[in-house]
């Protein structure tokens, strides 16, 4: 049997979305550090502004450097396109604002990044969009929370901070059975470890800041459009399936078919909300994506070494990572994540909050900061930082205990990472 004519994943990480510049021969992606682009004629300008033709007109809407990153990540995910944003949270907001309106309802996993939880729980209700949070391990809970006004199902492929493994196909079946799209935040996994669209997800959101970028030098996000969801099926998604006065009555599903969501997100979302990615940041992030396969393989390898070390340490009360047999999703992770379930884990330090604080203050190599997915090993105490706005009740529901430490395993020599953590754990018990 013949095979499709396309490059494989590792090759696309380096090449998708780019060809050497035809004018200068530049092999690297040039940084098109410009706000705007010269029109050929009045007719050309009019066509661009009216979505008659495609091309670049103003860097808030699109930019050639940013477009390479968009096309590259869309290719890695198996989507039809992507829209990059100024941050991962801007991407989440762009997805919500493109699909939803006042009166709509979301069913979301309760084990998600604190900022995303705040957006759904506190901010979106001010705009008339409400959310019901459910256990991501229970597809039936998603089904039971769906209401007539529900328009979106949302979860993280690997939850935060408990690394709950989403059974993407099962939740996608629930969503699709109700005529709804499934959007996932796959920041912790990256397309190297899982490609959610292949499992039934319709929208994939990333904080590109994290493992995709990998170097910790630039903030960015992306919404990847799977292009498989039928937005016009039953009139539930008027932003995509009904005429839009913002472009002289265009109906995005009618004109652009599988690209409807991407086109609306760019044409309206970046035009009106303006959360665009800068060309320089796109360049930095592209440098990271080029090495994603080799970095993620090493991240996962180092993570397994760290888990082994923690597993035998007297100061460690528990470990939460799908690679550990105690994790509730251990078997599911083996099925869905044959290359490993990421490089973020959490663990509890004997002695509760005080011991956790001593541990954090005693690490030397690992950096205490509010980020994950850096090339360097990072640690944080979510209860006092990323999740601090959540109530005690919400914290408990999200599985964030006071003793919990979240670790993002980096690319240092694994022996050095283990030595640092082991020493800090001993210090935590004094």
């Amino acid at each position: 049997m013949i095979e499709p004519d396309s490059h494989r994943f590792d090759t696309r990480a380096l090449h998708a979305g780019q060809r050497p510049d035809p004018v200068t021969g530049s092999r690297a992606v040039p940084i098109h550090q410009t706000t705007s682009f010269v029109f050929d004629s009045v007719d050309h300008a009019s066509g661009l502004f009216n979505l008659e033709i495609s091309g670049h007109l103003y860097s808030r809407i699109s930019n050639p450097t940013v477009a390479v990153l968009e096309e590259r990540i869309a290719s890695l995910e198996g989507g039809v396109g992507g829209v990059c944003t100024s941050s991962g949270q801007a991407a989440f907001h762009l997805a919500l604002a493109t699909i939803l309106g006042a009166g709509d309802h979301v069913v979301a996993s309760r084990n998600i990044y604190g900022g995303s939880h705040n957006m759904l729980n506190l901010t979106m209700p001010r705009f008339g969009i409400t959310t019901t949070f459910v256990d991501p391990r229970d597809p039936q809970a998603f089904a039971e929370a769906i209401r007539p006004e529900t328009r979106l199902v949302f979860a993280e492929t690997l939850g935060n901070p408990g690394i709950e493994v989403l059974d993407i196909a099962a939740v996608a079946d629930v969503a699709h059975g109700a005529g709804l799209p499934l959007a996932v935040d796959s920041t912790f996994a990256t397309p190297y470890l899982i490609r959610p669209i292949e499992h039934g997800a319709d929208i994939v959101i990333h904080s590109v800041t994290k493992f995709l970028g990998g170097h910790g030098v630039a903030i960015g996000g992306i919404v990847v459009d799977g292009g498989r969801f039928d937005w016009a099926a039953d009139g539930k998604f008027p932003t995509l399936s009904e005429p839009y006065d913002g472009y002289h009555g265009i109906t995005f599903t009618e004109e652009f078919g599988p690209a409807a969501l991407s086109m609306r997100a760019r044409a309206e979302g970046l035009r009106d909300f303006g959360g665009c990615m800068s060309p320089a940041n796109a360049f930095y992030l592209l440098q990271g994506v080029e090495t994603l396969p080799v970095r993620m393989a090493r991240h996962v390898e180092n993570t397994l070494r760290v888990i082994d070390m923690l597993d035998g340490h007297d100061a460690v009360a528990w470990i939460s990572h799908p690679a550990h047999p105690s994790h509730p999703d251990h078997d599911l992770a083996k099925r869905l994540y044959p290359k490993g379930a990421g490089a973020i884990l959490s663990f509890g330090v004997h002695g509760g909050r005080d011991a956790g604080r001593k541990f954090i203050e005693a690490v030397d190599l690992a950096s205490h900061l509010a980020n994950v997915g850096d090339a360097k090993t990072l640690v944080i105490h979510p209860g006092s930082t990323t999740h601090q706005q959540m109530s005690a009740e919400d914290l408990a529901a999200a599985g964030v205990g006071e003793e919990l430490v979240r670790l993002s395993v980096g690319l240092e020599d694994p022996d050095d990472i283990c030595d640092d953590l082991s020493r800090a754990l001993r210090a935590s018990q004094r």
Binding site: I2, G17, E255
Partner: protein
């Protein structure tokens, strides 16, 4: 817009511009026909532009495709007859722009019902369109492999790298999604109809209307040499060769195709 042909609903993208406005009542009617397993959206880079440039443009979904009611029609001859009835339903001779299977339909319709067809533009066409047996097998089984194979072959080899004229979009990803959305049981008969059609050169020989042929130099589904018998049969046709295009120039070099369409319609207006 939706309208009726043979008492079945036909869906067409019109660039969000009504073709029934008084001010365009005398503008040329341009009907764009998609290829096997695809739909109206393959023309998204031309439809809205045409609609805003003094034409009444309709990128139609063939029966059983996209938003048009089925059943799908399974031979080029019958599809051409349907197209003639569509022209009648629209109320006048139409300019046909066809891609791949749509080009065969346009060619056959113009030859069989010349009173209904004002001119034709053939995009990505050969004198014959043999289908690889593995592709036909996958399509007959509604295997997603068929969409992957077509999306890989229909664009020039450089599209493996991407750099889509539409910022942020993956061309092969979009093409694959369009074909995957084709209803079950439609792609296989579409491809079989292309492979079975042997009347292209005969139709070209009797054609009397103006013709433009747009060919991609990098076309791997209907290679350049496969079009030569057609070109020989239509010595007065205007030939536009696009060096960076494969089998789908309307996506790969959308601006060049818009210019070719504009030139074609402009020549007729003069």
């Amino acid at each position: 817009m939706k309208f009726q042909v043979d008492d079945l609903t036909v869906n067409a993208a019109t660039g969000a511009v009504s073709i029934e406005r008084d001010e365009v009542a005398d503008a040329p009617l341009v009907v764009l026909l998609h290829g096997a397993g695809m739909d109206r959206t393959v023309w998204s880079q031309q439809t809205r532009w045409l609609a805003h440039h003094d034409t009444r443009a309709l990128a139609v979904d063939l029966p059983g495709h996209g938003g048009s009611e089925g059943p799908a029609i399974t031979s080029i001859g019958e599809l051409a007859a349907w197209t003639a009835r569509l022209a009648e339903a629209l109320g006048g001779p139409v300019h046909l722009v066809g891609h791949s299977m749509g080009a065969f339909i346009a060619l056959e319709a113009a030859a069989a019902t010349p009173d209904r067809i004002a001119s034709v533009v053939l995009v990505g066409v050969g004198a014959a369109m043999p289908v690889h047996p593995d592709l036909q097998t996958a399509a007959d089984a509604d295997d997603p492999l068929a969409a992957a194979l077509m999306a890989g072959w229909m664009h020039g080899p450089d599209q493996r790298f991407g750099l889509n004229p539409t910022p942020g979009m993956s061309m092969t990803g979009t093409s694959r999604a369009v074909i995957e959305a084709c209803p079950p049981g439609v792609l296989g008969p579409d491809l079989a109809a292309c492979a079975a059609y042997g009347g292209a050169v005969d139709a070209a020989t009797v054609l009397t209307c103006p013709v433009t042929i747009i060919l991609g130099t990098l076309d791997r589904m209907t290679p350049r040499k496969a079009a030569q018998p057609l070109l020989d049969a239509m010595p007065s046709a205007t030939i536009v060769e696009l060096p960076d295009s494969g089998h789908a120039p309307m996506m790969e070099e959308p601006g060049a195709v818009r210019r070719a369409l504009g030139d074609h319609l402009g020549r007729l207006a003069v």
